[in-house]
């Protein structure tokens, strides 16, 4: 619909020009053609002059007053938003740093505690080892001592046995044969019998 009309409107200047001379001023003032093409009407030019004035005033008021004001408001807001964003970013960095610090502190504390526990366990183990060693040593010494005592007791007992045995044997042989036995023969016999296995001797 519009394109057709636009074409029709585009033809109107020609129509107006054709009409204007024939109709004259009176027809023009009434309904001859479009008022837009009545260039003879001084108001057609007057409105343009006034428009240029109004447009210029509007331009200067906007350019000098309204638009700088708008621009400053927008800039202020952009600046405020940027500043807030920066502050938020800084706060986040700070918080991240604090968290990292906290984590590090916790890790250090844990490591320290573990080291202390390990040291305590180590020293306890060492003390126990030392104690065991000294105990063993003492027991060993006591054992040696006891063995020595036993050996001494056995030697004493053996000595006494030999004396008793030689005495007894000499007495028995004197009584049986009427004469004392030869000392060397007795000694040999005694040594042989005493060297025999203890199980049979003592049993």
């Amino acid at each position: 619909m519009l394109p057709t009309l636009r074409r029709a409107v585009a033809f109107l200047p020609a129509a107006a020009l054709a009409l204007a001379p024939a109709a004259g001023r009176t027809a023009e003032a009434e309904s001859g053609g479009m008022p837009q093409f009545q260039f003879g009407n001084e108001l057609t030019l007057a409105q343009v002059v006034w428009m240029v004035l109004i447009f210029l005033v509007l331009y200067f008021l906007l350019a000098r007053w309204a638009l700088p004001q708008l621009r400053s408001v927008l800039a202020e807001r952009a600046q405020r938003i940027a500043a807030d964003l920066d502050a938020a970013k800084a706060a986040k960095t700070e918080a991240d740093r604090a968290v990292a610090e906290l984590t590090a502190a916790a890790r250090d504390a844990r490591a320290e505690a573990q080291a202390e526990i390990a040291a305590a366990a180590h020293s306890a183990r060492e003390a126990a080892t030392r104690q065991t060693a000294s105990l063993n040593e003492r027991l060993e010494a006591e054992l040696h001592e006891a063995e020595a005592r036993i050996d001494a007791a056995r030697a004493t007992a053996m000595g006494a046995l030999r004396e008793v045995a030689s005495e007894t044997a000499r007495t028995m042989i004197e009584r049986l044969t009427g004469r004392p036995p030869q000392a060397s023969t007795l000694e040999a016999a005694l040594a042989a019998s005493l060297a025999a296995p203890s199980s049979s001797t003592q049993g």
Binding site: R6, T44, W50, Y59, L70, E76
Partner: protein, 251 residues
């Protein structure tokens, strides 16, 4: 024509002086009154509406800021480098035409963009500005604009006149586009409204019922005209930016 309602689709465009004898003395027309109202509305929105300078804008301030950023982005995108110096001009032009179109949509308010003299004056301002900017920025080098770069020199006698013609047709198409669109809408409205009255007068009760049809068409046309009002202001601003871009950057 017999007595009774008739269609006078062009009467709405008739110029008359306004503001009484003072206006008559200086030829201040009804179109200029609409322009004054338009300028006042623009200043109210972008001046008075911003008085709060609120960090979190209210409705009016949000609208003003949206308008500012819309035109700023337009200039930035199309003109490119150096858009800031043309921004107030494009801004004024866009909102002068947009508010003018919208004011003109109200009954009894004059649509000053429906006058070819007005739109032509605006187009000539844009055209003149683009030529001045081009000449100031590029001196005589500006005229290389009429010879497309890379084209064979042999074609120059053909290409240069075509380019010059295209260039000269800019203000013509710019002014006629806006003027024709606004006139077409207003004429259609008037025709359908007049038709409604004619039908009602001629057919009595049936006519009153039948008159609902042109009325409904006009209601639909209101939405259409709102679209045209915004679109034509936008097109005018976009083309202005485009011409200024050509003047600044030479293609």
């Amino acid at each position: 024509m017999a007595a009774g309602p008739s269609i006078d689709a062009l009467g709405q465009f008739r110029l008359a002086t306004s503001l009484g004898p003072v206006g008559a003395a200086v030829n201040f027309t009804n179109a200029n009154l609409a322009m004054l109202l338009t300028a006042a509305l623009v200043l109210v929105l972008f001046g008075y509406g911003m008085r709060a300078r609120a960090l979190i804008p209210g409705r009016t301030q949000a609208a003003a800021e949206m308008g500012y950023e819309f035109v700023a982005r337009l200039c930035q995108d199309i003109i490119g480098e150096g858009w800031q110096s043309f921004f107030p001009f494009v801004f004024t032009l866009f909102f002068f035409i947009l508010f003018g179109n919208l004011v003109g949509l109200f009954p009894y308010f004059f649509a000053f963009t429906s006058h070819i003299a007005v739109t032509a004056a605006l187009a000539v301002i844009v055209f003149g500005l683009s030529i001045i900017v081009g000449l100031v920025k590029h001196k005589l080098h500006f005229f290389t604009y009429f010879m497309p770069a890379g084209a064979p020199k042999l074609l120059a006698p053909v290409l240069v006149p075509i380019e010059i013609l295209t260039f000269l047709s800019r203000p013509v198409s710019l002014s006629i586009r806006l003027f024709a669109n606004i006139v077409a809408g207003h004429v259609l409205w008037e025709v359908f409204a007049g038709f409604m009255l004619i039908v009602a007068a001629a057919l009595g009760a049936i006519g009153i019922v039948a008159g609902v049809i042109p009325l409904a068409i006009n209601v639909v046309l209101v939405g259409f005209e709102l679209l045209v009002a915004g679109l034509q202001a936008y097109v005018f601003a976009v083309l202005t930016c485009l011409y200024l871009h050509d003047a600044v950057h030479l293609h």
